[in-house]
């Protein structure tokens, strides 16, 4: 009953967001401040605004949230009430971030998103990996949020206002500007899982797949991109921050794309690809030009469509097959079952992967080309930053195609190689494939889950043309060449039934063990030290007081002899002593 109420409320709320986006489309930008309070010479309070950015993000969030809510009706049966309530709250928090014009109001939505992501990643809290993944996500984003909070302070105090629309970078001293934006960047890096705070996102995969879709497509990680786009005038006024952002983005996109090439689970591949694609958006933003901002937002919208689609497809695999690990999926594929049983999923996932890879004609192709074009414009002016971004994005495009094709082929197609490529994912354990999987019950998902897939698949193609096609043929050609460059090795490896995964990539460059050694172990030592200090130093004083009392009372018990004469003697001595004392004082 309660679950039904929340289901209806969740879908209704998502549709309401869509309605608002439709109503606000084309309206003149406006702002409204309320509940302001004067603190010293600063005004702190709430403010909302509407402009193109808000409408764009509202539309994206509304579409993805609606798809996710409807999809979840079929996907999730366990603890549905709390799940739908949290997803709704999560969406509402993202909407808060999108519409707010006050840095503090934005912070509220930002933090509520962090809490909701923790709760949703830990939805299957019976599982150990879900619990640890949730805690990891919470700790890392919270660590980054400290920087974010201080960034708000620095920027707000420097600009003498906490209204985003009133912050004028020209009136802030350069040092304050750089400090504030760098601190904000820490929060953004944590929220959007960029290097060096990237490890939480892949580990958040044990959460329900629709939640992954929501986090990766529309909320949470997109919030970082949105924030920089929102504060673009401020960020672009600080060259240092843009340089740092560019370096972080370039390192992250290559790092994540390499990690995705070695991942052996569908959702993990997709998670790393999200990190990589976000980095592309950041690199576009780091160009500091209007073209760059436009490219980033374009890519954000198309990415939301195809990444949401891909995660929902992965959810179908999880729901119908029971696992999204390649080693399990291969058992069905080798017998030619998966593609035939899950036809709609196969088709939509193909569209999604093609869009992600940037195959010409799909949405990802156009948005990625916009980024490359913006970087080329910048690089042509002789900017080293522009060249860095250009080269990185091109390399990443090739890598993206590589891992997309690898995923597609290995998941859905039987390799022509000997014995169907046994051993590629079984770690040499050929016996893992011996048991015949029960594929008689394998069929496609119910229509409530497939409808969002189809809708998003249409979006993943159509969004590319939404901006008007103004293709630079030169860049289009280069991009297509890059796609082919990435596709060829993937195809040839698949044909040979081999999937070489360098150890370094499979371990994701050892980031997790390094953090464990650098942060977790010292913190645990500190915790142990604190516990020991509490128990052996502070507790010792407390226990000593108690022990002293006990010992003293044991001593005083001896005085209670029961002998009347002893008592009398003590009384007489007391009288004598009092007399002596009186004499001493009197004299």
């Amino acid at each position: 009953m309660i679950a039904t109420v929340w289901r209806v409320a969740g879908v209704g709320f998502s549709l309401l967001i869509l309605l608002f986006a439709a109503l606000l489309y084309g309206a003149t930008p406006d702002q409204y401040a309320f509940m302001n309070s004067q603190v010293g010479d600063l005004t702190i309070g709430f403010a909302v605004r509407t402009d193109d950015l808000t409408v764009l993000l509202l539309a994206v969030v509304g579409v993805i949230a609606t798809c996710v809510q409807v999809y979840s009706l079929g996907y999730l049966h366990q603890r549905a009430a709390s799940y739908h309530a949290l997803v709704t709250l999560f969406t509402a928090a993202m909407v808060t971030v999108v519409i707010s014009d006050s840095l503090f109001f934005l912070l509220i939505g930002w933090e509520v998103m962090g809490a909701c992501s923790y709760l949703l990643i830990g939805h299957y809290w019976e599982r150990r990996d879900a619990r640890s993944g949730a805690v990891k996500a919470f700790l890392m984003t919270r660590f980054a949020d400290v920087g974010f909070l201080f960034g708000i302070f620095v920027l707000g105090l420097g600009a003498h206002t906490f209204r985003i629309s009133e912050i004028d970078p020209a009136r802030i001293s350069p040092g304050v500007l750089t400090t504030g934006t760098l601190l904000l960047l820490v929060g953004v890096v944590g929220k959007s899982a960029q290097v060096p705070l990237q490890t939480w996102l892949p580990d958040a995969m044990p959460g329900p797949s629709p939640v992954s879709a929501l986090i990766h497509a529309a909320t949470m990680v997109a919030a970082g991109v949105f924030l920089i786009a929102r504060l673009y005038t401020v960020f672009s006024a600080s060259g240092t921050t843009l340089t740092v952002l560019a370096i972080v983005a370039c390192v992250t996109m290559l790092f994540a794309a390499l990690c995705a090439s070695a991942a052996v689970e569908v959702k993990r591949v997709l998670a790393w690809s999200t990190v990589s694609q976000l980095a592309i958006m950041f690199s576009a933003l780091s160009l500091g030009t209007a073209d760059g901002r436009h490219a980033a937002l374009f890519h954000l919208a198309t990415h939301a469509a195809f990444k949401g689609l891909l995660f929902l497809c992965a959810g179908v695999l999880l729901h119908q097959v029971g696992s999204a690990a390649l080693v399990v999926l291969r058992r069905y594929t080798r017998r030619g079952k998966l593609r035939k049983a899950l036809q709609v999923t196969f088709l939509t996932m193909t569209v999604g992967l093609a869009a992600l890879a940037g195959v010409p004609g799909f949405a990802g192709f156009f948005s990625k080309d916009t980024v490359i074009e913006a970087a080329w414009e910048k690089a042509r002016d002789g900017s080293g930053l522009g060249w860095l971004v250009l080269v990185s994005v091109c390399l990443t495009a090739a890598l993206t195609t590589f891992y997309c094709l690898r995923l597609w082929l290995w998941t859905f197609f039987r390799t022509p190689a000997l014995a169907g490529g046994i051993g590629a994912f079984e770690d040499g354990d050929a016996a893992a494939d011996l048991d015949e999987p029960d594929s008689s019950k394998l069929r496609d998902a119910p229509w409530v889950m497939l409808a969002p897939l189809v809708l998003l698949a249409v979006a993943a193609i159509a969004l590319g043309y939404a901006d008007g096609v103004h293709l630079n043929w030169m860049i289009g050609l280069i991009s297509t060449a890059l796609v082919l460059l990435g596709a060829l090795p993937a195809y040839s490896l698949w044909r040979r039934g081999a999937d070489p995964r360098p150890l370094l990539l499979e371990r994701e460059f050892g980031a997790d063990p390094a953090y464990h050694g650098l942060v977790v172990v010292p913190v645990r030592w500190l915790a142990k030290l604190t516990v020991a200090g509490d128990r052996d130093v502070i507790g010792a004083y407390v226990r000593a007081v108690g022990r002293t009392g006990t010992l003293a009372s044991q001593g005083f018990r001896r005085l209670q002899t029961g002998n009347v004469q002893t008592y009398l003697t003590a009384a007489v001595i007391g009288v004598v002593a009092l007399a002596v004392l009186a004499g001493v004082i009197g004299s």
Binding site: T566, T569, V575, V576, A579, G583
Partner: protein, 164 residues
């Protein structure tokens, strides 16, 4: 004359009192108590308080000491000397008593060192009786009630309980 009489009686009282508290035979101690109390009665006499001295002899020597002797007999007090009649604390108790005596004696000497007693003869029964029944009637009556209460209390305490 009175001074000499008092001194002799006082010396006897002190010696007898010391024997009372150090004697190892309880019955002897009771008998020495008779002597000490009698000597104190002599002191009263030397101070021209004849009625008090007589009452002292009558009540103390005649009644109280006899009562004590009865109690000794009832509690089967041995006649032979008992080495452990005093407790192990006796040196300590002696010290306490000595200090007390020092303090009190010093106080008395400091306060009344130069005062003299003039021999006045007003200790007759008539004078005391007049005082009791003129000024102290109410305390006297209260005291008689107290005596009655003590009598009843002593009977109640020493009564054996019934077997049931």
């Amino acid at each position: 004359m009175t001074t000499a009489l008092f001194s002799v009686a006082g010396a006897v009282a002190v010696v007898a009192a010391v024997v009372v508290v150090v004697s190892r035979r309880i019955v002897h101690a009771a008998l020495w108590l008779v002597l000490a109390l009698g000597a104190v009665a002599g002191c009263f006499g030397a101070l021209q308080a004849e009625f008090v001295a007589l009452v002292q002899i009558l009540v103390y020597v005649g009644a109280i000491v006899v009562l004590v002797l009865f109690a000794l007999m009832l509690t089967k007090a041995p006649m032979k000397p008992l080495p452990e009649l005093t407790t192990g604390r006796s040196p300590f108790a002696a010290g306490v008593a000595a200090v007390l005596a020092l303090i009190l004696g010093a106080g008395v000497v400091f306060a009344f060192g130069n005062e003299k007693i003039k021999p006045v003869t007003d200790g007759s029964a008539k004078t005391v009786g007049t005082q009791i029944f003129k000024n102290w009637v109410l305390p006297f009556e209260v005291l008689s009630v107290l005596l009655l209460a003590a009598l009843i209390g002593a009977i109640a305490l020493s009564q054996r309980k019934k077997e049931d």
